[in-house]
């Protein structure tokens, strides 16, 4: 595989659908909310009744522009909605109002791990209804006894983000999606919950001989609803394509569905079966022409984005690059870190936030964690003891850590007389180790340190204990 990976280069482009968290739907005033009783958030418009006309949701347009700005796109002075025609029970009008050759955002990028991934476009459209298929093969319309339609989702504002074929590995694609998700969450346009379908992802995958500048035949992987399935699905498809090509067989352009259960790819339709969507400009809507003032106002209102925040974390907190990136995997983690770092040592804060399980982000108020770190920095407790205090904090969120230390007698033995007495005691009790140390086996000092630490129940600084031992021996 490693040899083949050197021979073949994967080329990946992605299409990401993001449900916008607007109050109402894209073209009607129905509430835009997940999880309501089926078919309760509907009206004649989103049910496609005769005579209804769409009216563009200003909030959705603003969020689409914010996405464009966050991705460094040009916001089109004029963009146009089109009708995308297809018959399917999830589409009550039998067409989706989408954007086609004049999208609202074009020509942007997102930098991930030092690579610049081009954003071809980001356009506004409406989501389809949700179908639930019963009987037959689980969850598929083929062979289903009947299908149920929930129109609550129908008309939810969507932004479709299309990348250039700039991604070169499943890992890079996953990292890209993670950063994109974080960016969208930071901008505040979507909850990006992949389980609920508010972030959905298709990937166009092809392989080519390494060094080639031509593209191979691509396949489209549909609807991979977790980072893991996305990575696994792409890896499986890349392996499949390489196998085909190495056997001298062609890759056929088709749409595939990755089944994470069987880890198999299944063909949904081939190019010959591809729809002719008969796009034409939506005559019920006038073109979008956002004013310069609106775009400027939205740009000024953008929060600090994850890419910039990562750089700032490394710069102003002096964190390693990987720490800065990991802290910015999710905005709430980065926010939490900054709260802790405001009142405690930043490097320690990053350590605690990233490496403690269960994560303090969900468990402990940032101020309390800062207090705990301050206790370590002040030498009041040792790092070892701090873990114990943290356990206590998990059980008792109310009591400040300093008080927990006192209640449980966990303060470091700062009194050197007391510590010296313990050291003397250990030297006394372990003549064999002492003998070995003096004969040059310096390693045994660790055993002696361990003895002392055991005596102090971890409340002493191991380095201080070792220094004391050395001076005594």
């Amino acid at each position: 595989m490693s040899q083949r990976a050197n021979t073949w280069e994967p080329v990946i482009g992605m299409e990401i659908h993001v449900q916008l968290n607007t109050v109402t739907k894209m073209f009607c005033r129905c509430e835009n909310r997940f999880g309501a009783e089926p078919n309760t958030l509907t009206c004649p418009l989103c049910l496609g009744h005769p005579g209804v006309l769409p009216v563009i949701n200003q909030g959705a347009v603003e969020k689409a522009i914010e996405i464009g700005l966050a991705l460094g796109c040009t916001i089109a002075e004029r963009s146009v909605f089109h009708r995308k025609n297809y018959f399917y029970p999830d589409s009550p009008k039998a067409y989706q109002i989408s954007q086609y050759d004049e999208p609202i955002c074009v020509d942007g990028h997102l930098d991930v791990g030092g690579a610049r991934i081009g954003i071809t476009r980001a356009h506004l459209e409406e989501d389809a209804a949700k179908l639930v298929h019963s009987g037959g093969e689980a969850g598929r319309i083929g062979g289903a006894e009947y299908s149920l339609v929930d129109f609550n989702r129908c008309g939810t504002p969507l932004v479709e983000i299309v990348t250039e074929p700039d991604l070169r590995s499943p890992e890079q694609a996953v990292a890209f999606l993670a950063l994109l998700k974080n960016t969208l969450q930071t901008v505040g346009v979507s909850d990006c919950d992949m389980e609920k379908g508010s972030l959905r992802c298709d990937a166009n995958v092809s392989v080519r001989p390494a060094g080639s500048s031509e593209f191979g035949v691509k396949t489209e992987l549909k609807n991979m609803n977790s980072f893991k399935f996305l990575g696994d699905g792409m890896a499986a498809e890349i392996r499949r394509q390489i196998d085909l090509l190495e056997r001298g067989e062609p890759v056929v352009q088709e749409t595939l569905h990755y089944d994470p259960g069987s880890k198999m790819l299944r063909s949904l339709r081939s190019k010959e079966e591809a729809h002719d969507y008969r796009y034409f400009p939506e005559p019920d809507l006038v073109p979008l022409a956002p004013s310069r003032e609106l775009i400027d106002r939205l740009r000024a209102g953008l929060p600090e984005l994850p890419a910039a925040r990562t750089a700032r974390f490394a710069e102003s907190y002096g964190l390693p690059a990987q720490y800065a990136a990991d802290l910015n995997a999710e905005p709430r983690v980065a926010d939490y870190f900054e709260s802790v770092a405001a009142a405690a040592d930043a490097k320690s804060a990053a350590d605690w936030v990233l490496n403690t399980r269960p994560s303090p982000v969900d468990e402990v108020p940032a101020g309390r964690l800062a207090e705990l770190i301050a206790l370590i920095s002040a030498g009041t407790i040792t790092s070892t003891i701090a873990k114990q205090v943290y356990e206590l904090m998990l059980a008792d969120g109310e009591t400040p850590p300093a008080q927990l230390v006192e209640q449980h007698g966990l303060a470091s033995i700062g009194d050197s007389a007391q510590l010296e007495a313990m050291v003397d005691e250990v030297i006394e009790a372990n003549p064999a180790f002492v003998e070995q140390f003096r004969s040059g086996k310096e390693g045994v000092i660790n055993a002696l340190v361990g003895q002392v630490m055991k005596q102090t129940k971890g409340r002493a600084d191991a380095r201080q204990v070792q220094e004391l031992l050395r001076s005594k021996l």
Partner: protein, 488 residues
């Protein structure tokens, strides 16, 4: 015996009688309903009336004392949604459909106190020029029951001519108000695209459809336009009028320049009688002080083919929602898949003309054909817009016949789509450019009404109405069909 003869009764006169309490709203509505009961079985203007609702609305207005147009009856083309009341667009596929909401124009009529008497017959989904394409049988022309009333708003036009309602609303996508108005000898106004909300108008060609009034007089058309025009937040393509609609009282046409597109008029198929009436009317305009100028609109002769690409294209998408899943007709056999059900429902739910246009529209939007057909048609539209703009830099209004022919026999063109489409020769350029146009009766040819069309720049309804009113006074056309005249 009724207290008032509704034949030839204008909306303005109705309002006067009601305002002076010479007649109650109930009496007026009853008079119209009685006339409908007596004579509509011959004509089939109405698909259904709503006597209980209309009388209840009349009683409520009588109790409060009617003002303005309150209490004046109106007929509604069955393409306009009325909450809770069957609305079919003349199609079997929507038989029994009861909308959940009122169309914007219907709401405005209600707010103005107009009383809807019922829903009028039409070509299915407004596709046709004779009302023969209604799934529920044709409407007959009040001037001669063997002839068509024109279409697609034939029921509304014939209802006004027959004294079944002083006002009616129709829709005009390629001439569906002006052509039946011409064939039935009444006034029909197609407002500027965007002047009247399309919300609740069951869409045919969304970029072309516009609601407008039928009436016996130009002043009545202005009164009706006052009611229905204006911005509706539910229709993004509707706009506020740049100036309020005024009821015309001009007696002359001094200072008005009328352009005559000689190249368009030279096209074959214009009947001699129509030509003669048109020239007579132009002479009348000159006598009223208008100056006449010959112009050319070279692209206008391409308007018809462009229209029959754009309108079907939009229709193919607009009519795709009628799939049997959520409302209307659903035809299903045991073992049908959802695709089988779609096919069965749509094959039997739509009439031949509708299916012809869906196929046409689907074809012209298909990959590989889009630019050649739809793209070219849209470019024709742009050229046409420029040509009209150029023309209006030199003239105030443009005049043509509204229809190349007078009413034709039922059955004559039903199997000849191209002959039927040719009815729209003079009307489609107006829809493609979004301009306002009016048809007013200019006289008779062989005993049948001829329509005269005036076209103006966008939102020049007041100019059109003023000129049309002056001409109407000079022509002195009697809109009561000869067969219905006392002693006739």
């Amino acid at each position: 015996m009724t207290v008032v003869d509704t034949l030839g009764l204008t909306a303005e006169r109705c309002a006067q009688l009601l305002g002076a309490r010479e007649i109650s709203c109930r009496e007026l509505v009853e008079a119209y309903l009685e006339r409908i009961d007596a004579h509509d079985p011959d004509l089939h203007c109405f698909l259904r009336t709503r006597p209980e609702a209309a009388l209840a609305e009349a009683d409520a207005l009588d109790a409060a004392g009617p003002k303005g147009l309150q209490g004046v009856p109106i007929a509604l083309k069955d393409i306009l949604c009325v909450r809770g009341e069957e609305t079919t667009a003349g199609s079997r596929i929507l038989a029994g459909h009861r909308p959940l909401y009122d169309a914007g124009a219907v709401t405005r009529c209600r707010d103005a106190g107009l009383i809807a008497l019922g829903k009028t017959n039409m070509d299915e989904f407004a596709m046709g020029s004779s009302t023969e394409h209604s799934a529920f049988g044709p409407t007959r022309n009040p001037w001669d029951h063997e002839l068509v009333p024109g279409g697609s708003s034939g029921g509304s036009a014939a209802a006004v001519a027959a004294g079944f309602a002083p006002l009616a609303l129709g829709t005009d996508t390629g001439g569906s108000i002006r052509q039946p108005a011409a064939l039935c000898g009444v006034v029909g106004l197609k407002p500027t695209y965007g002047a009247v909300s399309r919300h609740g108008l069951i869409a045919f060609g969304s970029s072309l459809d516009q609601i407008g009034p039928f009436s016996l007089t130009v002043r009545d058309a202005a009164l009706a336009l006052q009611v229905i025009a204006g911005h509706d937040p539910c229709d993004s393509t509707s706009v506020p009028l740049p100036e309020p609609v005024s009821v015309p009282d001009a007696e002359d046409m001094r200072g008005v320049t009328i352009g005559i597109p000689t190249d368009l008029l030279a096209i074959e198929g214009v009947e001699d009688g129509v030509r003669a009436s048109f020239e007579e009317t132009i002479g009348e305009a000159e006598r009223l002080g208008a100056s006449i100028r010959e112009i050319t609109l070279p692209t206008a002769r391409h308007a018809l083919p462009a229209y029959y690409l754009i309108a079907p294209a939009e229709a193919s998408a607009n009519l795709a929602r009628f799939d049997g899943v959520r409302y209307g007709l659903r035809l299903e056999e045991p073992g049908d898949t959802v695709v089988d059900m779609y096919g069965r429902t749509r094959s039997q739910g739509f009439g031949d003309e509708v299916k012809r246009r869906i196929m046409l529209g689907t074809y012209v939007l298909s990959a590989g054909y889009y630019d050649a057909y739809y793209g070219t048609a849209q470019r024709v539209r742009t050229l046409l817009l420029r040509e009209f703009a150029d023309a209006f830099s030199g003239v105030d209004l443009i005049a043509t016949p509204a229809s190349p022919t007078v009413a034709f026999p039922i059955g004559e063109r039903i199997d000849d789509p191209w002959a039927m489409y040719a009815c729209d020769l003079f009307t489609v350029p107006v829809n493609l450019t979004g301009l306002p146009g009016i048809s007013l009766p200019s006289g008779l040819s062989d005993g049948l009404p001829v329509g005269f069309q005036l076209i103006g720049p966008a939102f020049s309804e007041n100019r059109i109405l003023a000129a049309a009113h002056a001409l109407e006074q000079a022509i002195g056309f009697d809109p009561v069909p000869t067969g219905y005249r006392v002693g006739g």
